[in-house]
């Protein structure tokens, strides 16, 4: 190093004048403003989406008012629209998805952090994450041609026979074994959210300080007790955040649901019956909407969906953010 240094020090002939400095400063602030502009663009995108959807759904909100939310009408001919059927379908399929996705994701995260041999962790983690990489249209095709026949031949007759006669909840499980319907859509959604929830859970489980877990083990805890009484309480808010992240995905998922839900505009108690969801209604009917009020009703559905997922995702991010802050990241 010292052999090189004297050379630049010796050249004192031309000190950098303002002409050499100014262009650089000008470029500096131009570059900074450019990046700032695009960052602002990202920020304003969210607002722009909200504003366009509100404007687009204006005719529907004016014509039907709050009643839009509680009406089961969906009659393009008489131009009467209500959102209750798709809202129910979206919430119900997402609920089924969470009932399946959350426990399974927890099990996977438990396996990947506590049980799996070290050499297996990375390939297994990647394989589970591949479930998220598969496009939803592929889930849809597989669902329609492979999973729906499986449900109607094997699973649904069994459910009809064994869960149908139960008091109270039996009504949910009685119906023709069509294969297409709420339950099938919910199960497919459940599989689709597993990679999102389990990868968040795995990542936050890893952040638990080894000293905490080792102390519990040293007191004689079993693996299960360490996970249930040390790891889970420590990561509770982030785990909830991960679950909400999965819920946000499930609510907005479109193609897979469109294939297996049946596009039937009816409200039925049975989970075996076809239904509709917000996203599937928009996907199926948007290009067929021939009147302004029809189009506007579909945009209003989109607005509803966006607001609900926005709230769910915001909760998810806030919960996850708390953990990041505690870690000092």
């Amino acid at each position: 190093m010292s052999a090189v240094l004297p050379v630049p020090l010796a050249t004192t002939e031309s000190p950098p004048g303002p002409r050499r400095v100014l262009p650089a400063r000008w470029m500096d602030s131009a570059f900074e403003w450019l990046t700032r502009f695009f960052a602002f663009l990202v920020f304003s995108l969210l607002a722009a989406i909200l504003v366009t959807l509100v404007i687009g759904s204006q005719p529907t909100l004016e014509k039907f008012g709050v009643g839009f939310l509680f009406s089961t009408d969906w009659d393009p001919v008489q131009e009467k629209f209500g959102a209750l059927v798709p809202i129910y379908g979206t919430l119900m399929t997402s609920l089924i998805a969470m009932l399946i996705g959350v426990p399974v994701s927890f099990g996977i995260a438990l396996f990947l952090t506590e049980l799996s041999p070290a050499w297996l962790k990375r390939p297994l983690g990647t394989a589970i994450e591949l479930l998220a990489a598969i496009p939803s249209i592929i889930y849809g095709m597989w669902g329609l041609f492979s999973f729906v026949p499986f449900m109607s031949d094997r699973v649904l007759p069994w459910i009809n026979d064994h869960l149908g006669p139960l008091p109270w909840i039996g009504v949910l499980f009685r119906g023709p074994p069509l294969g297409i319907g709420m339950l099938t859509a919910g199960i497919v959604l459940g599989i689709m959210v597993i990679p999102f929830i389990s990868s968040v859970m795995r990542d936050v489980f890893r952040t638990v300080p080894a000293a905490l877990k080792e102390s519990a083990y040293a007191l004689g805890s079993t693996t299960w007790e360490v996970v249930w009484k040390v790891v889970l309480p420590y990561t509770r808010s982030a785990v909830v955040g991960g679950i909400f992240l999965g819920l946000g995905r499930a609510l907005g998922e479109t193609m897979a649901v469109t294939f297996v839900l049946g596009n039937a505009h009816q409200l039925s108690a049975s989970l075996l019956m076809p239904g509709n969801s917000i996203a599937a209604t928009i996907a199926n009917e948007f290009t067929e909407a021939d009147s302004d009020i029809y189009l506007s009703s579909l945009i209003a559905l989109g607005f509803l969906l966006f607001v609900v997922t926005l709230i769910v995702l915001a909760i998810a991010r806030l919960m996850l953010h708390n953990l990041a802050r505690r870690e000092g990241r």
């Binding site: 500096d28 700032r36 995108l45 506590e114 496009p135 579909l298």
Partner: protein
């Protein structure tokens, strides 16, 4: 009060059960992956033929291929990345490099970006439909590419932001102390150091949009014929799969499977490749 032996038995039993359930859950998750991949690959391989790449989508009842849809998908995806990635890199650069004096603002943008990252893609399609398709008056491949760009954007913002933050501060200080202006430090030093991460983000974004269907349904629509005009309705593989799979014709089903095969392979190669690429670069950097 339980006897100590009963207590320990119960604790061991619940421990064993939880371990078994964890293993079962992992096998459960993997079995779905295997089922989906096997079904797609077997049905797809059966339907695959050179025709797929040379002929255009047929009318019901006759044979054909997916050439126009493949070209449309490629064009729109590439255009989506070309629009979304530079914007995302610029915005990510601001978050990582220029926003330290405005932490609230910076965190707000990160928060908004994270929400856009998981926002339902069909809503992005509605947005592009309202601000572009409706104003122009017709469906077009450009509108499709725009909605895909909106999906790439948050992915690239996030990865750029994260990888630039991983670049050691020493590198910035060393470069700045040589008198290099800040923009040059960013472009020629920091981008070079962060390139693997940024590229991974772009590849993951590309993987995500190659199979994306929902936002294309009412932006690019579909086109049964060959078209070089991106300013008109444009076919894409996922939308063709949707249309053909929902139809009652066997020939169309078979083409849909072939399309599913191609999409799945592209997405898997891109996302596994992006991960492997990042891993290799991290290892090289550590070595």
């Amino acid at each position: 009060m339980q006897s100590p032996r009963g207590l320990i038995f119960r604790r061991r039993a619940s421990n064993l059960i939880s371990k078994l359930m964890g293993t079962a859950a992992t096998l459960f998750g993997l079995s779905w992956l295997a089922w989906i991949l096997v079904v797609t690959l077997i049905n797809g391989a059966r339907a695959l033929s050179p025709r797929i790449f040379t002929q255009i989508t047929p009318p019901p009842g006759s044979d054909g291929g997916l050439a126009n849809a493949l070209v449309g998908s490629t064009l729109m995806s590439v255009m989506g990345v070309l629009i979304g990635a530079p914007l995302g890199i610029a915005a990510g650069t601001y978050l990582a490099e220029f926003a330290e004096r405005r932490p609230v603002w910076r965190e707000t943008i990160r928060f908004v970006n994270d929400i856009l990252l998981s926002a339902p893609s069909i809503v992005l399609g509605l947005f592009v439909y309202t601000i572009y398709v409706r104003q122009v008056g017709h469906f077009s491949g450009i509108a499709g590419a725009l909605s895909l760009a909106l999906i790439v954007l948050p992915v690239v913002v996030r990865t750029t932001d994260e990888t630039l933050r991983l670049v050691p501060n020493m590198m910035r200080e060393a470069a700045l102390s040589l008198g290099i202006p800040r923009w040059k430090v960013t472009v020629q030093v920091l981008y070079r150091a962060a390139l693997p991460g940024i590229l991974t983000g772009v590849l993951l974004g590309l993987a995500r949009i190659s199979g994306e269907t929902a936002p294309l349904l009412f932006t690019a629509l579909n086109n049964q014929f060959w078209s070089n005009n991106l300013n008109g309705p444009t076919a894409s593989v996922p939308v063709v799969i949707f249309q053909f799979a929902m139809s009652p014709y066997d020939a169309w089903h078979s083409l849909a499977w072939a399309g599913a095969f191609v999409v799945t392979m592209v997405v898997l190669v891109l996302s596994v490749g992006a991960r492997a690429f990042l891993l290799k670069n991290r290892m090289d950097a550590n070595a």
